[in-house]
């Protein structure tokens, strides 16, 4: 059994052996006793493929023991077989399970990199713990001819800001693998490597959209005042995809030239998808005319364009356009109405707005009703009486949103309603009730939750309660 104490002498890591048995739990307890000042124990199950049922009792035992000593217990690197046993014994919720890449050798880590579920986390880990051993590993990756490993190497270099490798990364621009090229482009952007900009321009036309998008992002990162002008040329290309990439690049560059070119281009672009993209792109510029442009786009025939324009209205602070937006809340398209209602919630604090939304409530579709309830909460006028009736609504999301919005305007009513809602038939509503109790912290709420969890059947609600009151 390997035992390791961290530098601060707070976390004790104990590696459980492959042929784990009762005695190993005993010696784990002895180890814990040896270090009275620790605050956390990590039991590393990396090498343990399976747990016999008799050991479950030992595991619970050590959990109780650590609770009694006020030490946090974490199981790390739990394999599928052990995870299943915990699941079958309904214990999964009671243990904190984490990955701890620290107990893997560089070679084992490279194996984990090939698992797409694990890839990103391993890259992060190696990047933030970079040392000689990992440097050696990178060398192996570069000569491996496995595109996943090469890509990982580049991202590790980027994330650990290992500028010493910049030439290596540059070479990867010539790789035959698109994922390798893409990551090289991105990392050169993070490094601020201006010298490559011309070459990266070429990739805007790449047949792989991921590569082209990466090129757009990197050019934006490296951009100076000339780049908007250079990219403008691509807006008049007959290739739709290139125009798309150009719009993306310009909105990322986000300077005055870029804005001007995008607005000009809106006048001539006929493609629906690209107009959708333009609506969003333009809404990311902080300019007074943006709201008018978007409101104009709402007059177009295409549903997609109208929805994009409506949703973008939420993003901009068009407080002087509330009336025009209010005109859309009963729009024939549900999602335009939905976004308009949400925009009102974000822009208006006045009673006339909440009155108006309340008035149309009964006439609109479910989604829009839900948005109205949410917006009433955002507006903040006290409409708790109206919302209170909705707590009886047959639809769970209406009840949930009503509860939430009440909590934003009337704390006493919210606490009372949340306590009642713990009996709601829908777990979604119960979950929200618990969140509200957690936020408002009425006297004795932890006891209420501890009581409630005894009869709770839903796994998410249980997890939520455990996260507030602690486990077991």
């Amino acid at each position: 059994m390997d035992v390791l104490l961290d530098k601060e002498k707070k976390v004790l890591s104990i590696k459980m052996p492959q042929d784990i048995d009762v005695k190993d739990f005993k010696s784990a307890k002895e180890q814990i006793d040896k270090y009275p000042d620790i605050s956390e124990v990590k039991l590393d199950f990396k090498d343990v493929p399976y747990l016999q049922s008799k050991l479950i009792a030992e595991l619970i035992g050590i959990k109780k023991y650590s609770i009694s000593k006020d030490i946090k217990l974490t199981l790390t690197n739990v394999q599928e077989g052990v995870q299943q046993i915990l699941e079958i014994s309904d214990l999964l919720d009671h243990f904190t399970i984490k990955r701890d890449f620290g107990s893997y050798s560089p070679h084992e880590l490279s194996y984990l990199l090939l698992d797409p579920e694990m890839n990103e986390a391993v890259i992060e880990y190696i990047a933030s713990n970079f040392n000689e051993n990992y440097a050696e590993l990178l060398e192996q990756f570069f000569v491996s001819d496995d595109p996943v490993l090469i890509e990982s190497a580049i991202l590790i270099i980027g994330k650990s800001h290992n500028y010493g490798y910049v030439d290596r990364v540059k070479d990867c621009l010539d790789s035959p693998y698109p994922n390798v090229v893409r990551s090289a482009i991105l990392v050169l952007g993070w490094f601020g490597e201006d010298s490559c900009k011309n070459k990266i321009y070429e990739f805007l036309k790449d047949e792989h959209i991921d590569v082209a998008e990466a090129a757009a992002a990197t050019i934006a990162l490296l951009s100076d005042e000339n780049d908007s002008i250079a990219i403008k040329e691509y807006l008049s290309s007959s290739d739709e995809r290139l125009r798309k990439i150009a719009i993306q690049a310009l909105s990322l560059i986000n300077d005055d030239f870029a804005y001007k070119f995008l607005v000009e281009h809106l006048k001539v672009e006929n493609n629906e998808t690209l107009r959708v993209q333009l609506a969003k792109a333009i809404s990311y510029f902080n300019k007074p005319e943006v709201s008018d442009i978007l409101l104009d786009m709402l007059k177009e025939d295409s549903l997609k364009i109208r929805e994009a324009a409506a949703s973008s209205l939420i993003r901009i602070k068009a407080t002087d356009r509330v009336d025009q937006i209010m005109a859309l809340v009963e729009d024939k398209d549900v999602w335009v109405a939905y976004f308009a209602v949400k925009a009102i919630g974000a822009l208006c604090k006045e009673k006339r707005c909440s009155d108006q939304l309340e008035k149309i409530y009964s006439k609109v579709d479910t989604q829009v009703r839900i948005a109205i309830i949410e917006s009433l909460g955002n507006i903040g006028q006290d409409v708790s009486e109206f919302l209170f009736q909705l707590l009886e609504d047959p639809n769970e999301d209406i009840r949930k949103e009503a509860l939430n919005s009440i909590s934003r305007m009337n704390k006493d009513l919210a606490i009372e309603s949340a306590n009642n809602a713990l009996k709601d038939s829908s777990w979604v509503v119960r979950f929200k009730a618990i969140e509200i109790l957690e936020e408002l912290k009425p006297d004795g709420f932890k006891d209420t939750l501890k009581n409630h969890v005894k009869t709770e059947t839903n796994r998410y609600v249980k997890e939520k309660i455990f996260s507030i009151v602690g486990e077991l």
């Binding site: 299943q84 797409p116 990103e120 994009a308 949703s311 998410y460």
Partner: protein, 276 residues
């Protein structure tokens, strides 16, 4: 436009999405996989103009196109990692041991179902190995392959692969069965025609009725994503659709212990089979 930024997910949103995914596909996401959902769904939210997962959840629950969106969601959240000749020992066991034994008792037709086939590497590997053993001349063999993800089914039907799909595959096999153009490896038509692909969700009992009675089921590296309830359901469906003596092969880290005790476990040294 900040299209590449991931949209952060609240715990409440995570729970609701995980629940929708679980109810539809049996796949369980625990909270430590939240980042995975964020990475995979942010782009879709952007396409739909949504700024939060809550909007997306309401879309999945109330929009008239919600059924289509559920399929898209499944395409985005499934893990489709696979490669040719993965866990080959089980395929060899079926081909070199079980089929000959069954054949010695007079059986001439065999049906094989690859029940979560991802982009097709698994069923095509089976077809390749069957061909290597000269089985196609001797018997009538059908291979059906299904997956919940419509996108990977599309890739499987095209039969064009990149080098990542060939970890550890002997070059002689690659040369014999694939045509290489640039970075693409195109499966030759004589193998491609041996496998029929469908979309099917293992959580719907309809999945098995699309296939009918079968002799072999490969369901590998998918039950790991399911909880006990969902596993039981799927394995029970397999039981009903297997012929007596039929074999079920699971991934190497998967087991039926405490899931279903009707199957007989056969440990053949290099792997495990469950027999009805």
């Amino acid at each position: 436009m900040i299209t590449s930024a991931t949209i952060k997910m609240k715990d409440e949103e995570f729970a609701e999405l995980a629940d929708i995914i679980y109810k539809n596909a049996g796949i369980t996401f625990t909270i430590n996989k939240k980042y995975l959902l964020e990475n995979r769904l942010s782009k879709r939210l952007n396409e739909l103009n949504f700024a939060s997962y809550k909007d997306y959840i309401y879309f999945l629950k109330y929009d008239i196109k919600r059924r289509d969106e559920l399929k898209i969601l499944m395409n985005l959240v499934t893990i489709n990692e696979t490669y040719f000749l993965r866990e080959r020992a089980q395929m060899d066991h079926m081909i070199k041991k079980v089929i000959p034994e069954m054949a010695s008792k007079g059986k001439r037709s065999f049906k094989i179902w690859s029940a979560a086939c991802s982009s097709g590497e698994e069923p095509y590997s089976i077809a390749i190995l069957l061909n290597e053993e000269g089985m196609y001349g001797k018997y009538n063999i059908e291979i059906y392959a299904t997956d919940i993800n419509t996108e990977v089914i599309g890739i499987a039907e095209r039969g064009v692969y990149r080098s990542v799909s060939f970890r550890g595959v002997p070059p002689s096999i690659i040369d014999k069965y694939f045509t290489k153009t640039g970075l693409d490896f195109t499966l030759k038509p004589e193998i491609k025609s041996k496998v029929k692909f469908f979309h099917a969700n293992l959580m719907e009992s309809l999945a098995a009725s699309k296939i009918g009675v079968t002799d072999f089921i490969f369901c590998r590296n998918v039950l790991i994503y399911f909880d006990v309830e969902a596993k039981k359901k799927v394995v029970d469906m397999f039981y009903k659709t297997l012929n007596l003596g039929g074999h079920l092969y699971l991934g190497h880290s998967e087991t039926l212990s405490k899931i279903d005790d009707r199957y007989k476990m056969v440990n053949f040294g290099t792997g495990i089979a469950y027999v009805k």
